[in-house]
């Protein structure tokens, strides 16, 4: 295909990606409840959004679970990547495959399996069940992100540290973390976003007392297209945009 054709094709796909989101954002500023016609620019939907105390609580829940889940998932995922790379142990291959399977596995399968687990153990659905579930589904993504970077490291560094008397823990904190922090940070950001966006797993594992943003958005969206929802979705999109930007900058820094 010639250059023009390629350019046109790429543009068309990018338009497909961004046009609906652009429409969503534009209409979140439209000064009319129902109309498609432009009635002038307004911030009122955003003001309503930020004044809504119920929604504030739900947002706090989401951020709390997101930060905690991302942090624990990052610790576990990084340890997994490091163990897979550095150690030979019984079940290493199985662990490698399990991480891969957890990434490919449909969310709904994980959602109901955790629901059955919590119901068997008679744990009330809410904050804790949600947190445990989010850590579990984020952790494989961290481990893959960190692993893809760790394989690029020079193995001799570890040997050198060992010869100089460093324990494995010292190597982890003084060698691995400083060298891999961009990947670890990206893992954290990815987990945070996954946690903040997850509908399917959360749908099964949270209780009525602990609502979170994606489920709140889901119930709002089911009721139809409204400017408040547009505004909320635009805010979430803006947040994601910032996070992706941060992750790309982190990765670029070390290259």
């Amino acid at each position: 295909m010639n250059r023009l054709g390629k350019f046109a094709y790429l543009t068309a796909v990018y338009l497909f990606f961004y046009f609906p989101i652009a429409v969503l954002i534009v209409y979140s500023f439209n000064n009319s409840q129902y109309s498609l016609i432009w009635h002038g620019f307004t911030f009122s939907w955003y003001q309503q959004l930020f004044a809504d105390t119920d929604l504030q609580l739900v947002a706090v829940h989401s951020l709390l679970v997101g930060v905690l889940a991302a942090t624990f998932a990052t610790v576990l995922g990084t340890l997994t990547a490091v163990s897979l790379y550095r150690y030979q142990f019984y079940g290493r291959k199985l662990l490698h495959s399990l991480i891969f399977i957890l990434i490919v596995s449909p969310d709904i399968v994980m959602g109901i399996s955790l629901l059955i687990l919590f119901s068997t153990l008679k744990i009330t659905l809410g904050f804790w069940t949600l947190l445990l579930s989010h850590i579990t589904f984020c952790m494989p993504f961290v481990s893959v992100t960190v692993y893809s970077r760790i394989i690029g490291l020079d193995k001799n560094i570890f040997e050198a540290a060992k010869d100089l008397g460093a324990t494995d823990f010292t190597i982890f904190t003084r060698v691995i973390i400083p060298l891999l922090w961009p990947a670890i940070l990206v893992g954290w950001l990815l987990s945070f976003t996954l946690s903040l966006d997850d509908v399917i797993i959360s749908f099964f594992v949270t209780g009525p007392d602990f609502n979170i943003l994606p489920l709140q958005i889901y119930s709002m969206v089911r009721l139809g297209v409204k400017p408040e929802v547009n505004a909320l979705c635009s805010v979430m999109f803006g947040l994601t945009l910032l996070i992706v930007l941060a992750s790309q900058l982190a990765l670029r820094k070390k290259q």
């Binding site: 790429l10 796909v13 497909f16 990606f17 961004y18 609906p20 989101i21 429409v23 969503l24 209409y27 498609l36 340890l79 490091v82 163990s83 142990f89 079940g91 662990l95 891969f100 399977i101 990434i103 490919v104 596995s105 449909p106 969310d107 709904i108 399968v109 994980m110 109901i112 399996s113 629901l115 059955i116 687990l117 445990l132 579930s133 850590i135 579990t136 893959v144 992100t145 893809s148 394989i151 324990t167 494995d168 823990f169 982890f172 976003t193 966006d197 509908v199 399917i200 749908f203 994606p214 958005i217 889901y218 969206v221 089911r222 297209v225 929802v229 979705c233 979430m236 994601t240 992706v244």
Partner: protein
Amino acid sequence: MMPDNTFKRSSIVAIWVWLTLFALLPNLLVLMTSLMQQGDNELVRLQLTLNNYWELFDATYFKIFWHSIDIAAVCTLVCLVIGYPFAYFLARTESRYKAILLFLVIIPFWTSSLIRSYAIVAILKTHGILNSVLLDLGLITQPLHLLYSGVAVIVGLVYSLLPFMILPLYANIEKLDIRLIDAARDLGANRMRVFIRIILPLTLPGIIAGSMLVFLPAMSMFFIPDLLGGAKTMLVGNLIQNQFMSARNWPIGSAVSIILTALMGLMLVIYWRISKNRKEQQGLL
């Protein structure tokens, strides 16, 4: 001096305890639930049976399965047809803006698919932007009822899942050794032949990884048929959700989930076979 293994041991133990408790055990419980009976007072009665699986051959369930596979297959195919050339151009471009172009694909990959589905609802609804543009252009005289149809579901699924097809393909095509293509051209192969005999086989792992990441969620993301298909479209995801939340028949829901897991297993085996032949590392994401 004995080497200090505390760090190694405690990491491996922590990882395995976590994954056993929250990944292996839950799935074992799903398998067990799928072999139990629905209880009258409690959710599950502890009595072994294969009935739940037999019931899945019932016409209603079977139709839902077939319909899901149909929709997911169409969606995967559309993603492949749109995504393959896109990933190819992107991986091969020598543009200065390549990093930005790639970045623009990563953004939708990270953006909530619920929000992206909602954006599609806003576009397709009867008084939505698409209908008003088409009306203004005089291409149609009546607004089209695009929402709440099978087509809307496929559009929503493709929109949500296209990045999951493009990124594995991009990673695969990027690694492709360009000298192989040059060699084939030098030896007299035409473009078509180069594509079929060289490029396609070498990018097969990417095609399968992408298809897996599109096909499985397409069957199971229940909120997309819910928002875009109305009550008309019920996919496997909706069936499971329904059995767990409203019908309260956990054994049947579990059996459906086991079938879905088995389907995933089958796709994984194919993927591993093919990527092992190519000596590929696990370069899925």
